[in-house]
């Protein structure tokens, strides 16, 4: 094969196909930002300080939390805090599969990864909608 030939000739106008990645990248970026700023303190509170009794569990009592979650402002906050990081993490997992050389069925990998984030988001959204009291 003569590689030299192709470079000196006039390049034919290529057909460009636009990627839909911006949608997922936007969610990835928003989720990543949230994870970077808030996940550490969330883990600290829900996973360590409350269970270890370093903060009184009263601060995360059923009453208090239910009231917050069923409010018009609390519900979207909880949805974002719980679901948005998943759009970040599953985007990374999807791309890591490629990094690990798992090249088969990329379409299905994409459906499963983002579908998972979507399913959990809908799950949480539905629960919040049920609890919502306006």
């Amino acid at each position: 094969m003569n590689a030299q030939q192709t470079t000196t000739n006039q390049l034919p106008e290529k057909k460009y196909i636009r990627s839909h990645e911006p949608i997922f990248w936007g969610l990835f970026g928003a989720g990543g930002m949230l994870t970077a700023f808030l996940t550490p303190v969330m883990v600290l509170v829900t996973g360590l300080l409350i269970p270890l009794g370093l903060i009184d569990a009263e601060h995360l009592s059923y009453e208090k939390l239910h009231q917050f979650v069923s409010s018009w402002y609390g519900a979207p906050i909880v949805l974002v805090l719980v679901a948005l990081p998943l759009w970040h993490t599953l985007h990374r997992i999807f791309h890591s599969l490629h990094d690990l050389g798992i090249k088969r069925g990329r379409d299905w990998q994409q459906v499963i990864c983002y579908g998972f984030a979507f399913a959990v988001s809908v799950f949480v959204f539905t629960l919040l909608l049920q609890m919502l009291s306006l």
């Binding site: 990543g32 930002m33 994870t35 970077a36 700023f37 808030l38 996940t39 550490p40 303190v41 969330m42 883990v43 600290l44 509170v45 829900t46 996973g47 360590l48 409350i50 269970p51 270890l52 903060i55 569990a57 601060h59 995360l60 059923y62 009453e63 939390l65 239910h66 979650v69 909880v78 805090l81 719980v82 679901a83 990081p85 998943l86 970040h88 993490t89 599953l90 990374r92 997992i93 791309h95 890591s96 990094d99 690990l100 050389g101 959990v120 799950f123 949480v124 629960l127 919040l128 049920q130 609890m131």
Partner: protein, 129 residues
């Protein structure tokens, strides 16, 4: 006749173990696995919350299990690692010029850390209210 016979080296699936920089990249990407599990725990918490007080308290007491404590400690560490890597790369996504000079990366990173500390303290105070 050409004697050319370019040799294409194979890239093995363990490429990220051969170089510390790549390994750190993979840890960064791998942080998503634990953070995914943490999000699922929270989603489960919302589910239990919707089922009533008893169910929610069962979720709360499950979090006291030693395995849960160890798991959350790990999540905290890996989440902080994510935070550090996220902040260190943040200047690359910033396109700000002041008096015709690009804004120094140090200020952008420092700004992120200061915001992080404020947000963390704010959240801790908020939960105590």
């Amino acid at each position: 006749m050409s004697k050319r016979k370019p040799y294409q080296r194979e890239m093995n699936n363990d490429w990220w173990l051969k170089n510390a920089f790549y390994s750190k990249y993979m840890i960064r990407e791998g942080s998503s696995i634990l953070i995914t599990v943490y999000s699922l725990i929270l989603a489960w918490g919302v589910f239990r919350l919707s089922q009533g007080e008893e169910a929610f308290n069962a979720w709360l007491s499950a979090l006291q299990h030693p395995i849960s404590i160890i798991f959350h400690l790990l999540v905290l560490l890996i989440a902080l690692y994510h935070t550090i890597t996220w902040f260190s790369l943040a200047p690359k996504a910033v396109d700000l010029y002041i008096k015709g000079k690009p804004l120094d990366a140090k200020f952008i990173v420092a700004g992120h850390y200061i915001s992080f500390i404020i947000v963390t303290i704010f959240c801790l105070v908020l939960i105590m209210l």
